[in-house]
Structures are given as structure tokens and as C-alpha cells.
């Protein structure tokens, strides 16, 4: 510890930490596993896996392919999986007739702004809860835990009153501000910072770094993987959120995609070609984000944040 007075050890520690995590994630798999048994089981298990995958893919595939069918073909028997005639008319109609560009922009604004804020404040809070153990932080930890038991769905009307009294009704800020605090985000960061050795903190203090400088210059950069994981989670939550926009927004010009989609599907006579086109458009950005950043989702130890 006496030599841990400057930053290089921190970097060494970071890499050690990373290596450790990879180790524990992979588990210790000895080379002596039963190869023979595995080979015998390989075919049936692989087939089973892919049958299940096909079952999961089927609804999505049917939905995607249907969105390329012209309206007349959607309801003409016999149905065919592959469109007989490919068309983009549903997408065009959705984009033009339903003011979709505006909803798209609203949703993107909400999702991006909230995500940035959520990630930042979750990191701050998670760090404080992990590294400062005093009455205040312990109490706030319990408070955050309580929010998971008291979801917005349970307090719809009073939440509406609060939003209205704060003057946030019918504005995008009314969706953004209340969504910034998420228990999962705070727990993810808290769990991560608990694994960061305290020595790092102590040596930075010895070097004379202020508490906030330690957080911003050492701890926050360390937490990059969690940062990305939470960013994707948060983007997905906000992009797909329905209940907040539903209670906060009244004017259609502020509608988000989910509220707009609900108004199409809730109509007396559902305009299926438009609905299918609009739904497909609404999931595209998320699919794009997912394929770019998938390793942060699929390889993340997501249990870290939720296990508490």
C-alpha cells in the first residue's frame, strides 16, 4: 500500500479485476468432462434447442413477413408465410398518415435524454451506496429497495396529480424526470463498486484527490462495462415504456410510439397494414442498438444489480 501512491497500480488493479471476473464467469471447467456422453447427447439436444428457438422466432417472423404484404393479402386464405407480393406500402402509410415521424422523434428524445441522466445519476448513487457506509446511505438503500415494491402502476392517480402540480403535465419532461431514478440502475452500479477494492480509494485519498475527483476520474472510468449495460437497458425501458407517457401526455403531438401504437390497436376497426408497418418501424432502433452493443447485454452479469 505504501507504494500505491499514484495511478498505475489502479490500472493494474483494474485489469486484475477484469481477469478475475472473466474467470468466475466462465467457471472452472476441467478438461476431464465426459466427452463421450456429450457426443451422444449432442444431436438430440441441438435439435431440441433449435426447435425451441424456432418456436420463439415464429411469432416474430410471421409478424415481420406480414408487414410486407399488401392489405388485401393479409386476409386472403390460404395464408402464406412468404408474401406473394412484396410491398412497403404499410410502412409508407404508417410514416405519413399517422404523423409517425413526430412520435419517433419524441420517443428518441425521451429515450436518449433519460438514458444519459439515468446512467449518470445511477453511477453517482450506486457509488455512494457502495463506498460510503453511514446511516444516510444505508437508509437510502432501503428506500431504493422500497421503490421496487411500489411501482408506478400502483400509484397512477396520485402520480398524475404530482406531475400536474409540478407543471410537467403534457410535456416530454414529465416522462423524463420521473424516470431518471431506477432501482435496477442504482443496484447495478452499487454491486459493481462493491467489487472495486477500497485500497484504490484510500490510495487516491492519500494522494490528495478530493472525494468527487476520485469518483469522476478513477471510479467512473472503471465502471465502463456497467455503464454500457445500463445504458442499453435504460434505452430499452424508455423506448418501450407505455404507462408514463400514457398518464403524462394528452396532446397527440407529444405522443410516443407506444401510446400511438396503442391508439391504433385500440381502435374499433384496426387498420392492420398500418399497425403492422408502424410496429415494425417502432422496433427497428432497438434492434439496431442491440446488434451494435449486444455483448454488453448478452455477456453482462445482469444478476449483479438485481440480486440484492
Amino acid at each position: 500500500m505504501a507504494t500505491a501512491a499514484n495511478l498505475p497500480p489502479a490500472i493494474a488493479e483494474e485489469s486484475a479485476l477484469g481477469a478475475e471476473k472473466v474467470d468466475s464467469a466462465r467457471g472452472r471447467r476441467g478438461p476431464r468432462s465426459n466427452r463421450e456422453g456429450r457426443a451422444r447427447l449432442s444431436v438430440p439436444l441441438t435439435v431440441l434447442m433449435w426447435v425451441i428457438a424456432a418456436i420463439y422466432a415464429l411469432p416474430l417472423l410471421w409478424f415481420l413477413l406480414s408487414s410486407f404484404k399488401p392489405g388485401s393479402e393479409l386476409f386472403s386464405y390460404p395464408l402464406s408465410m412468404i408474401p406473394r407480393e412484396w410491398t412497403f406500402q404499410g410502412f409508407v402509410d404508417a410514416w405519413e398518415r399517422v404523423d409517425f415521424a413526430q412520435y419517433f422523434l419524441n420517443t428518441a428524445t425521451v429515450a436518449i435524454v433519460t438514458t444519459v441522466l439515468t446512467v449518470f445519476f445511477s453511477a453517482c448513487t450506486g457509488y455512494a451506496l457502495a463506498k460510503y457506509n453511514n446511516k444516510g446511505t444505508r437508509l437510502f438503500f432501503v428506500c431504493i429497495l422500497a421503490t421496487t415494491m411500489l411501482p408506478t402502476e400502483v400509484i397512477l392517480n396520485p402520480t398524475f396529480t404530482v406531475i400536474r402540480d409540478l407543471g410537467l403535465y403534457n410535456s416530454l419532461a414529465g416522462i423524463i424526470v420521473p424516470s431518471v431514478l431506477t432501482a435496477t440502475g442504482v443496484f447495478m452500479f452499487r454491486q459493481f463498486f462493491l467489487t472495486v477494492p477500497d485500497d484504490l480509494l484510500h490510495s487516491a485519498r492519500i494522494d490528495g484527490a478530493s472525494e468527487l475527483a476520485i469518483f469522476f476520474r478513477i471510479m467512473l472510468p472503471l465502471s465502463r462495462p456497467i455503464l454500457f449495460t445500463l445504458a442499453i437497458f435504460s434505452f430499452q425501458w424508455r423506448w418501450n415504456d407505455y404507462i408514463w407517457p400514457l398518464i403524462v401526455l394528452n396532446d397527440p403531438k407529444w405522443y410516443t410510439l407506444q401510446v400511438a401504437l396503442r391508439s391504433i390497436v385500440g381502435a374499433e376497426n384496426i387498420d392492420w397494414p398500418v399497425l403492422l408497418g408502424a410496429s415494425v418501424i417502432s422496433i427497428l432502433p432497438l434492434v439496431l442498438v442491440f446488434f451494435v452493443f449486444q455483448k454488453y447485454v448478452l455477456n453482462a452479469d445482469v444478476s449483479a444489480g438485481l440480486k440484492d
Binding site: 456429450r38 439436444l45 445519476f121 448513487t125 453511514n134 400502483v154 407505455y242 445482469v302
Partner: protein, 314 residues
């Protein structure tokens, strides 16, 4: 944050972290209180404004006949008395329980089964399969509702087309209450598998191979190994998945809004939808708040029971 105590708290000669702590100057203690306060400040405010305030307001409303405007008029426990005699409230609550009891085990089995296959080295193409099964996570509850409504349409749906093509007769997926709920349960399992699967994969990978090998040497077959080594090993994750899925199912709202809108009729109206309808569409704010309080108590009870159950097992 400017830190005026900075220069005095620097202790360049302190050799041990323990020694640093034992010095415990008053000023340093201050900065250990102020810094975390600055860090959690925004979230504390958000917590107070968007949880404590509406929570307290909801409790207050539940004792009034508030209708969204005007002054609060306290009517004591009248809302609760009316609520406990209200058939539609019981119907909604009962339907929510049925939905939860059926959908949570299905989600559990699906996600654990898929996760077990995905960590098994015998399976080929695991990464691709994982992505395919994970895709529904990207899809919003509203669109999940749209997709399943489209699959299970009574007159033009894919499933009924297959059934009639195979010689069967069309199944009334949307006009029969129980069948409609079945579709909702399938849809929830389809949408809920992905995330829980990730949790299970992480847990399964953490089970020490040595334990499984030892069991194998002792003559345990695959099923016995799964039952006696794997399941106890992932118990904390199982607990968490069940708790989260239960709470999620109890407050299911968006997907139902898109899929059946509580139909046929009001047969499959779940509790949050009931609260929304009474609170917003009929603006019986006080009454809806009373129903909300009941839901909150139910959620708390579920959490406490499961927590106790988990402690006992551990």
C-alpha cells in the same frame, strides 16, 4: 464540489489505510458525509418527489371521494367497504391471481430450460440460438400484444389457419375468456423468457464443475444431478426470478391493453387496468386509490412471504 478541507486532509506519509482511517479528523468525517450527499442528492429528491409524495397522496386519496378536482372530502373507510363488496374488483383481482399463478411457473420453466440448454456444451450454435431467443426482449409490451393478437386472430390468425388447414375447427381465441387468457399467458412467457434466461445462464455458469463431476462419479444421472446439484446451486437466482416475475405479472398492463384490452367484455380485466379505468376513465380517484392500496398490500405481502421462504431455505 469545492472542497475547502482538501489541503488539511492530505496525509502523504500515512503508510496504511487503517492508519488513515484511525486518524479520523473531524474535517475528514465531514467530507465523508458531504461527498455522498452530493452524489445521491438528485436521486433523493426524485425519490421524495415521485415516490414518497404520490405514495402519501395515494393513501390520503383512498380515504376521500376525490374525483380529480375540488377539495378533498374525507369519507373514512367507505371506499374500502365499497371495494370489498365490489364484484368487479374481486373479479379483476382474482383474474390477476389466476394470470400470475399460471404465467410465472411457465416463465420459470421456459427460461430455466432454455438457459440449461444454452450452457450445455453438447448444443451446437448456442450463440445464434441465444440471440434468437433473446430478441423478444427488444419488443415492447404493446408490440408483443400486437404480435400475438395477429398470430391468434380468430378469423384471420395464423394459428387458426393452421388448425383449420389440419382439418380442425377455428378456435375462439378472443371470444372465449379462458382461451383469451391462455394467449395472454403464452405472450407473457414469450416476452418474459429472454431476460430471466440471462439471469439463469449467469447462475448456471457459476456452479462449480467439480460438484457436478463428483455427483456423476457417485452414479447420479443427468436428472438427479440437475435436481440435487444444479437446482440448489441456483436457488438465489430462482428466488429472484420468481419474485420479479410475480410482481411483474401482478402489474401487467400494457401488453393486455394491446392484446385483448381486458376482453372479451371485461372478463380478463386485470387489477392495474381496473385501477386505470376507475381512476382515469371514470375519474373516481378516491376509489381507485383505495384499490391501489389493496394492490400495494398484496405486492408487499408477496415480497415478504417469498423473502421469508428464501431465508428459511438458505
Amino acid at each position: 464540489m469545492a472542497n475547502p478541507t482538501m489541503s488539511t486532509t492530505v496525509a502523504p506519509r500515512a503508510p496504511e489505510p487503517g492508519a488513515v482511517r484511525s486518524k479520523s479528523q473531524q474535517k475528514r468525517r465531514n467530507r465523508y458525509v458531504i461527498a455522498p450527499l452530493v452524489l445521491i442528492g438528485v436521486n433523493v429528491v426524485l425519490f421524495l418527489v415521485f415516490f414518497v409524495w404520490p405514495g402519501a397522496l395515494g393513501l390520503l386519496y383512498s380515504f376521500t371521494d376525490y374525483r380529480g378536482v375540488g377539495k378533498l372530502n374525507f369519507i373514512g373507510l367507505a371506499n374500502f367497504q365499497k371495494l370489498f363488496a365490489d364484484g368487479t374488483f374481486y373479479a379483476a383481482l382474482g383474474r390477476t391471481f389466476v394470470y400470475t399463478v399460471l404465467s410465472v411457473p411457465l416463465i420459470y420453466v421456459c427460461s430455466l430450460g432454455v438457459a440449461a440448454l444454452l450452457v450445455s456444451k453438447a448444443v451446437r450454435g448456442r450463440t445464434a440460438a441465444k440471440i434468437v431467443i433473446f430478441l423478444p426482449w427488444l419488443i415492447s409490451p404493446i408490440v408483443v400484444g400486437v404480435i400475438w393478437k395477429w398470430m391468434f386472430g380468430q378469423d384471420f390468425g395464423f394459428v387458426n389457419f393452421l388448425i383449420t388447414s389440419a382439418g380442425g375447427s377455428a378456435v375462439p381465441w378472443s371470444s372465449n375468456g379462458n382461451l383469451a387468457l391462455t394467449v395472454v399467458i403464452f405472450a407473457s412467457a414469450w416476452g418474459g423468457t429472454a431476460f430471466n434466461m440471462l439471469l439463469f445462464i449467469a447462475a448456471l455458469k457459476n456452479i462449480p464443475e467439480a460438484l457436478l463431476e463428483a455427483a456423476e462419479l457417485d452414479g447420479a444421472n443427468a436428472w438427479q444431478r440437475f435436481l440435487n446439484v444444479t437446482l440448489p446451486g441456483i436457488a438465489p437466482t430462482s428466488f429472484m426470478v420468481i419474485l420479479l416475475s410475480t410482481i411483474h405479472a401482478m402489474k401487467e398492463f400494457a401488453m393486455i391493453q394491446a392484446l385483448t384490452n381486458g376482453g372479451p367484455g371485461t372478463e380478463n380485466t386485470l387489477i392495474v387496468q381496473y385501477i386505470y379505468k376507475t381512476g382515469f376513465e371514470q375519474s373516481k380517484v378516491g376509489y381507485a386509490s383505495a384499490a391501489s392500496m389493496v394492490l400495494m398490500v398484496v405486492l408487499l405481502a408477496i415480497a415478504l412471504i417469498q423473502l421469508r421462504f428464501n431465508r428459511k431455505k438458505a
